[in-house]
Subunit: 316 residues, 6 copies
């Protein structure tokens, strides 16, 4: 981290043009270890839209972040070269499948640079095109914090909405269901088979009340067991956290994790062989006090810390 960049991080937090974590903005990811990316797309939302505004508000609130994780001692900027490389803009947002193709193309270009992506959505459907790139050569494992399994089927005439990215990713062979763990699942379901895909394909589903009973340490241990040593993607749907902490999201479900529990969960995955991560479903129009975007930005920083550790570990 250059002195200039460090200085930028210490200017008053309300100043300047907001980038993720106050990192420098770069047109290209070439030479970076980790790229911070916005994916301002919410065309896959089935209820309350607004996650398209997520990257902007997460960037805004991420001005409150600092360089070192006080709880773990990790400074991602000491471990890796990191920058904000802008948005994966969807130029044809009115057609869901083409939008996903454009996002996929954007991540293919990124992959060519070797930079590992840490993305801020957008709705959860954006994880599918990212996985198509990251899992192309070998299906990846998945740590998912979420209120919903998102392994649904057709709904409202589409197979690619924000409630189905992971069933599609398994179908397409880019996700290894045996190495998937879904944590915090809760809320009602409209049929007993709503998340049957998860169970039938061997994903490990930890419902919220189970997590409560197991305790966080056991949840973390179980998740680490499931994903093992293989390449793993971490996807964090902000609705995994309780709406008291994150009201600004499209499909809120009460009874979720506290923010502290969410942080401990992420920190507990330190050492996992992460190849990418995202934070999705922050919907600013439903967030009058801004705490959802703040929570999203902080979780993104926590993800950055464990992702930087993984990248540094692979660099040796």
């Amino acid at each position: 981290m250059s002195e200039q960049d460090l200085k930028a991080m210490q200017a008053p937090r309300y100043t300047g043009v907001p980038t993720f974590m106050r990192m420098p903005y770069r047109e290209s990811a070439a030479g970076l270890d980790i790229a911070l990316i916005g994916v301002p797309y919410d065309g896959g939302v089935t209820n309350r839209p607004g996650a398209r505004h997520g990257p902007r508000e997460i960037r805004n609130q991420s001005s409150l972040m600092r360089t070192i994780n006080q709880a773990t001692g990790v400074s991602p900027y000491e471990l890796c070269d990191i920058a904000d490389v802008g948005d994966a803009v969807v130029e044809r947002p009115f057609q869901l499948e083409q939008a996903h193709e454009q996002i996929q193309a954007w991540y293919e270009k990124l992959a060519a640079t070797g930079a590992v992506p840490l993305s801020a959505g957008g709705d959860h459907s954006i994880t599918l095109p990212i996985l198509r790139v990251l899992g192309r050569d070998r299906p990846v494992g998945l740590i998912q914090i979420d209120a919903h399994c998102d392994t649904g089927d057709d709904y409202l005439g589409s197979r690619f909405h924000h409630g189905s990215p992971f069933s599609r990713a398994v179908d397409e062979g880019v996700l290894d269901p045996k190495r998937c763990v879904q944590i915090g699942i809760r809320g009602g379901i409209n049929g007993r088979d709503q998340w049957a895909f998860s169970y039938e394909h061997g994903m490990r589903v930890i419902q919220m009340h189970e997590a409560h009973e197991m305790g966080l340490d056991a949840v973390i241990a179980e998740a680490r067991r499931v994903v093992g040593d293989g390449p793993t993607y971490f996807t964090f749907d902000i609705d995994g956290i309780d709406p008291a902490y994150a009201p600004g999201t499209g499909t809120p479900e009460i009874g979720g994790f506290t923010a502290l529990e969410a942080q401990l969960l992420v920190r507990g995955m330190s050492g996992v062989n992460l190849v990418g991560a995202d934070i999705v479903e922050v919907a600013p129009p439903f967030d009058p006090s801004g705490i959802t975007a703040l929570t999203g930005a902080t979780i993104m920083f926590e993800l950055l810390c464990i992702l930087a550790e993984a990248v540094a570990a692979r660099k040796g």
Copy 2:
């Protein structure tokens, strides 16, 4: 209006399941003169979504409406049979053109009953499928209150977004550009040809600053001159009104009409041969005090009054 219905309108306003104007809810429009319809679709929005929530909040705020227009003395319920017939639900919201086809099919069924539609959007793209039905046999004229001409061209890979319904309607022969008046146009443009379609096809464009100079009476007279005696549709985009009065909309432009001016404009069209009307682009997520939905509901009632007059006049 039955005694029971009248009584319902006099119950405390916060009670009951909210229908448009507290009218009875009917599964079918058969036998109605005017059908009140929600079109909860905002898949054509190019910036801030949320108008899909418009019908629900307009219904909610319309509990504040009463039976008689005090300023004009008109009671639409004395002139016509009116009911809330529910929503034109889009079952495949992820594909813009198919969504429009579904809306069109819904209005075709409605047209078969003979009921005249008064709709609450939804984004402005929904007016296109409505016009396809109403202008099928003979292109209709148009009174449009709006900040934008909405006669744009392709944008973001689509010809059918909420900035282009009226160019498409002219292209498809369901709208007569010579009988179109667009009032309140303002804000920046991204090219000198942005609204060229309007000018080149002979639509009468009255920019906001022109309306201010002309005065309301002259604007009304000019609009009546343009549409003449032929069948005419009235489309009211809530962003025609200043954001102080209607902040909750997708593409706000400062410097618009006051609410009173908007009411006077609508009332000034009494006697026009109206065949339908709509109020669109109310986006509740951006409306913390609820006044946008209240304004939308009140404009909808004003439209109902002049529409009922037109329907009653045609009944003779």
Copy 3:
């Protein structure tokens, strides 16, 4: 005005315990020319409650007021002794009529001191017990800025709700209908006879669209003609102002006065023989930005200026 009081008015506006206009708080009105009073009662509301919180928020926002009316040059504090004398607290708020009796008793005590009341409601039903005191010996005239005539009849089982204080006051002989002017009336009505009381008793009703056509100067002249030289009460329902300027009220009606027009209307009554005034129906729970309470506080200050002139004139 003492030096200490003046100093208090010049302390930073966010400091101190908020009284009306930052005036001293007094337990008793003895010796005062004008008493500033809160009436935190909204038991007469037929729709959205919350005006009980009005006095507190008006006090809070009135910290922004200063001593001299720049537009008219009037300083009420140079003309009169003024203080905040606290609230006319209703100890039995669950029974509407008893509540009114308690308010009446409070004002009777006040009347014994000779202080003229300037009150902040509370809902509009509170004006009835005030008029019972002020009009006891001789019925008073009325200048009313309001969206509704509030001369209704029984509704929801009561004759004394916030939609009927002025019919009751005429019935009880404390208000002279021939000297009443109601300005800004608008919105729908549920029967052609809803405000028949006003018309039948010779009140001068100026609907909003008429006021718009007449122009403010003519409205002011007409109002002054109606009330003449006799003792007159000024009641200002915040819903007389458009909800863009005052969203926080129980029964908002779009199409009202601007704040500037409201100020000019009040100033235009300078010289009228005022015996009291109030500002009612500010409902803070519906006022997320606080501008309704600010508008209420400013109108209260404008009323204070013309009331002080009237009191000073009577003192000679």
Copy 4:
């Protein structure tokens, strides 16, 4: 559950006229097992009103509910016939005791149909008239989640405000104090005898800090012990939950249950012999992000699940 009803529950959540849980709306409860009812009355509130708007917003947010409780596997719609039967409208809201009489009369009619009521308030005073009906033949037991015992005495001139329904219900012989458990009690008190009624009559009071020490399992066991096998009513005051999760209420007290704890508490009562339930004190004007109504709707669904189990068990 009919196919049509099921389809309605799977339409996009922002569409249609909102009923409780998206259930069909019925004019009569005849033939139903469980009736969903709104009681839009808040005339018993001693501080911040607004709960009269609760039923409408709970209906609105309940669109997010689905058919099956994922955590327990219960689908109430498989067990019982359920519908939204509208509001117990108070036609004379200005007089507290008459209002209660009207509510009582409404529930007496309901009782004649045999349908079990699940109600959404409204303030907590509405539970008294409901208990008068349900406990007429035999006093019922009570599970109460609440920040306040609501066994107060006269306050502000009334014995029937929202802080005293359960002392009145015991006085009237419709509630068996020995079978009452009050959970989550906290906040300050204005006299050491404020909740003396509870203690003196043998109600089991579990203060919040006690519940924290005991742990949820012990609280549930104790509650089940207290109410035993007899007919029991479940009343859930939203202020039992911490204001972080439910800010929109009239008398918030910090330090309450989390939403997850609240859900676990309700689920823990599965098997209790429930004869009715309610969720009260959701006050939308104080709920800018809408999470209070969402929490209220979700708790209502959780209550519906255990109520359906009880009804089904009694049907055998």
Copy 5:
């Protein structure tokens, strides 16, 4: 304007890192005709702080701006080279006078490049250091839209707060009082001499009620007469506009200009010999719906249009 820049302006408005007007961000103003600058400083505020957040939210909302002013036909980007050059960051915000020195130093560097500044505050005290630079060689004239003259004296122990920049600027010889016009002045004053400085030094003060009486055309003519042909600075305090249109400001005063009137006022100054301009006092924490920042961004665009005309005219 490059094709790339034009394309950036046509991407969806919620994408990308927000700069003023979506202009390119440049580290240096060298080569620019007009520099867009944020001044995130509110240390001179005497009441409600928050204007330090103004530049960020104005940048955010300015994504809604487009390239051409539809009402006037002016495209500033065709006339001038324009970019966002970042913020004049105050590194020592805790000492008012030193903060002003730092701002001044920043503008001195800018002046050396020849770029004309268009700034977004920040509180109104920031205009003083800007004028110190622009008026150094020759005192400039001033067009000021504002609720307050801001020619006060010492207050709260300082001569340099946001209520006194223009008295200080005259004292320092950088502002020519005879060529100053202050438009929209209103609200109370705490002494008859509060704005005596303006009157005594020959500034032309047009109070709001005078502007209302004169009409906009006369106000514009008078302002143009006062400033004449000499170099003139345009300062727009958002509180010149009514709080209905701009609630988010530190010292709101009801009864101001509408947004449309404000736009017409700015456009009316086309042709004036402008050497700089600013928009100040947008305070996002008091702006729940965001319309104040939107209004600020749009006024900034209107200022940019007339400033570009002036710069282009001087370039010949």
Copy 6:
């Protein structure tokens, strides 16, 4: 507590001029045991200002408090004479160090009366001048609930901002670092030495994740061990609590204490030899639902209870 005062506490909560805890307002602290004080100053804030509005909103929300702590049985008003003595107003807010001098002078006057201060800020920098008075004769110990150690060094050109009061207090010899415990510390840091002062001077820092692991009882025991029997000050920064419970603060950090945990922590310090306390950093402009001020008021009441116990114990 006089009967009149008690009665005031039982009036409806929305009535009257709001003082802290509804206590009587006194010009002087003479004769009091405990003085409740507002310190409306936020000139030391490095990010989001607004805490200057804290005392007013805490006073407002403290109307919800009652006389007796139900969980502990303590009634501070039975133990001590207590009143609201107004604000320590800063007359020269634009210069940080002079502002602190003024606050210090105010507390010196207070100290002369013998009253123990319980203050509501304001930003955390206000604790420094208070400690200068309380620790003058003998350095005090400190219990601090906070997200940040606030033992920083120079920042933004000042040594006295709200991130450094406790390093300055140690430097000045008024605080005994060996008797300081800082609880709830979390969030990122910008250098590994950011809070080095705390560690190097022997303060006991309990980071949030440590507190979570230790459990509340152990945290309380450790804090009591650290401060021992000596005179101790209790400072509670509202950002010690999670932003879900307290969003309205200048530097929120997710992952903090729940409100209940915060209450238990305060209660756990019963018996400590407290010589003063404060609650700081409540920033109402960022608190749309008001729960931060409610939380602040309730914590202030909890502090009052243990402070009254300490004062009563010293009185013997």
